[in-house]
Amino acid sequence: MEAERNAGGERLLDVQGLTKIFGALKACDGIDLSIGKGEIHALLGENGAGKSTFVKMLFGALEPAEGRIFWKGEPVDIANPGAARHLGIGMVFQHFSLFEALTAAENIMLSLDEKIPIMKVAERARELSKTYGLPLDPFAHVGDLSVGERQRIEIIRCLLQKPDLIILDEPTSVLTPQEADRLFETLETLRDEGKSILYISHRLEEVKRLCDRATVLRHGKVVAHCDPRQETAASLARMMVGDEVAAVRRLEAPGGIGEALLEARSLSRPAANPFAVPLREVDLTVRAGEVLGIAGVAGNGQGELFEALSGEIQQADAASVRIRGRDAGRMGISGRRLLGAAFVPEERLGHGAVPQMRLSENLFLSRFKTDARSLLGPLWTVRAGALTKAAKRIVEMMDVRKSGEDPEAAALSGGNLQKFIIGRELDRQPSVMIVNQPTWGVDAGAAARIRQALIDLARSGSAVLVISQDLDELFEMSDAIAVMHDGRLSAPVPISEATFEKIGLLMGGAMPERHASEALEKA
């Protein structure tokens, strides 16, 4: 192991014993890591393993409790992000910080320490974009750009500071497979120039492909330094999770595929604001016993589709959404729940649950109408006893780990809260279940459990619709996958015919016909 750690040639960064404590939690516990010049170093770990905390300390956004950082052999104290940039550490965040109403060049200019005229910024941005294969129009408004293009702005913004070390936080989580390929080429160019990259991800295949060395974190501690090319995806996953993750089992539905339980017919919706996506003539059918997956790059109308299907936003045309054969387009979310539908939104805190309310109260949030008989007493009083009992049942069913009897939703980890929110709906035995991003930011163990629960629900005769940006997840769960792009939904591709490439092209906006004709030309 020691030999591996020294393998990177000339050391750029050397971290020793870095520790950060939040209250009783050791988010990072004595982390050692070194990065050589011209190395792409992967930082692997589950959500909550301490990756973000570690990186924030490197970037000066958090102050370490213990440990030392050596930069080019010198001990350094990184007090704030400005100091980090000054040293030559640049960072591309997972969540972008761009103003949608401004142009790419204006956004770049805002982040620069010196005052440089806008034309000069645009020119330098254009040069960089040419050198590194990052096509970008500096005068395009960010609001009009795709997520991949927005990421390029962030990368160019970072490169303008001429960093020696670039930290990328989950860069491919928002990209199509083809966009990710282009990003990898850029990163390889940067490596060939002698720049170092710290690459944070939980996608094992791309780490194996791209990275020279990897450091695996679990529960705030380093569990291994390794060469990802010598490992298999399974062995890396084992290091991350600790033990084998139960594979999700997808059996044939015993009763076969049944009648249509959820239908959308020419579902359209104008954009609510200049940066929202309109829905354009969406058609979909989910039958009893079936899981339909909806893939797509973030921000192509998935959120709008969820709102329209759930009834958070109602339609003018009652027949545009049908639940169990009944026109539901003009019903509110409670009416649709009474028809047997259940919904799980993307955001857990602040949408699926009220952060400062207890679990039992959050159970009430989506169930007070459907379970009025058991949860409401005389004079519309809330039956606290019945609520606590039901909350306990869900906690046991989904194995929700929590501290205290009935904690506030915000006190749970993302994975455990998501298990509770999914369990809250499953507990009703819904005949239609619509889930947006079921396992976003959830650790592998909880994710497997959630996916299995959703598949089991479908196999018991319900219709399940899963909207997700995680293609692995969709391939694991779905019987068919449809793709959302720019507010349109493609025809579903049966799982037997679906490939990453096919779905990826649809995610990038390719029409199936055009795809076919291109293939003909090539032939």
Partner: protein
């Protein structure tokens, strides 16, 4: 250059949350003592006249109830608004609107005299207050206007309208041109509870009833749940199937009706006629009461008596040691300042940052968010 920044604490202390109103009260006493000594008064004397003297006599306890009743009535209504994230700052105007609407019967129809008059007046007062509150509520629900501005501006409209009424069309014909209406007749007077002991009237009973009922609604019922969910997380409220615009109307109508009831109770009880000024700022002071009582109707009852005491104490200090009546207002302002300050500091801590650091720190905070 230095700058102050509020940083959210990872966890807040339950103990300090509970005692925060008491800390605020203590800090107000200290700051008040300093203010009194700067004004050249003995601070201990002043505090004695403020907080002890009014509690020594039965009649004066009755006066306390008279002052506390409108404060509690208005503040429990406001708690519904504030909990549901609707900022009704215009209770003073709704108080006046209720007094005017309720005053129509005894002033315009003085010959209509029977036992029905008082109940009708109270109902009309509530309707008047609710109707007046519905204006900013409708503007917010329909056009997304800022309810803080609209409700506040309507206070001045109500004050000037009342002023015009009592100087113009509603002036007492036999009142020697004083700007006031005729005295309310006997059927239009809110009865006193124990006439032999003091002046306290049924207003305090209404206030306590309203507090208990709203406490029950907020804590125990589906409606209370809806109010709290929409206040804390509008998006989760929409997911639950609650309507935020419906809640704007409901909360404003409830608080308007209670402010209107306070208004008509005040004029038919403590005053007995309409005058150009019928409130020493009850509608604004009630905002302090609501927060001092932690937006909990039972806490508001306690807070209402504390603020009522500051009114009485202000009068006592004015008479006995010649403090200006403005000192009482300043005192109340300090109390609100300390209440909000303590609450903020329980959830946030203060960090001093230099400007250059602040700039990069800020971008870091944004990007990490």
């Amino acid at each position: 250059m230095m700058r102050l920044q509020l940083v959210k604490r990872p966890q807040h202390s339950a103990f300090f949350s509970a005692v925060s109103p008491l800390i605020a009260l203590a800090l107000t006493m200290i700051a008040g003592a300093i203010m009194f000594s700067v004004l050249g008064k003995n601070p201990l004397d002043a505090l004695y006249y403020y907080f002890i003297d009014p509690l020594r006599e039965t009649w004066s306890l009755h006066e306390l109830a008279i002052k506390a009743a409108p404060l509690i009535l208005i503040a429990v209504g406001l708690s519904v608004c504030f909990l549901s994230n609707n900022w009704n700052i215009g209770a003073e105007g709704q108080f006046i609107a209720g007094a005017i609407a309720g005053g129509i019967l005894p002033v315009v129809f003085p010959d209509f005299q029977n036992v029905l008059v008082l109940p009708l007046m109270l109902i009309m007062g509530m309707i008047g207050g609710a109707a007046y509150a519905s204006v900013p509520a409708f503007l917010k629900a329909r056009f997304n206007t800022n309810e803080i501005l609209t409700s506040l501006m309507l206070v001045y409209v109500a004050q000037l309208f009342l002023d015009w009424l009592v100087r113009g069309p509603w002036r007492d014909p036999g009142g020697m041109n004083f700007p006031e209406t005729r005295d309310f007749h006997a059927f239009a007077i809110l009865p006193e509870l124990m006439p032999s002991a003091g002046r306290a009237n049924w207003g305090i009973v209404f206030a306590l009833l309203a507090a208990v009922i709203l406490w029950f609604v907020l804590r125990k019922t589906l409606k209370g749940f809806e109010i709290r969910v929409l206040g804390q997380s509008p998006r989760a409220g929409r997911f639950a199937g609650f309507s935020a615009s419906h809640m704007v109307m409901v909360s404003f109508l409830i608080s308007g009706a209670l402010a209107g009831l306070a208004g008509i109770s005040e004029v038919s009880g403590a005053i007995g006629q309409l005058q150009p000024a019928i409130s020493p700022g009850y509608g604004f002071t009630a905002i302090i009461v609501a927060f001092l009582g932690r937006l909990n109707p039972l806490g508001i009852v306690a807070a209402g008596f504390v603020l009522a005491l500051s009114y009485l104490g202000g009068e006592a200090a004015q008479i006995s040691i010649g403090l200006s009546d403005k000192a009482a207002r300043a005192f109340q302002g300090m109390l609100l300042f300390f209440v909000l300050g303590c609450d903020t500091l329980i959830h946030y801590r203060i960090r001093l940052v230099g400007l250059s650091v602040a700039k990069t720190g800020e971008t870091g905070a944004e990007t990490n968010a």
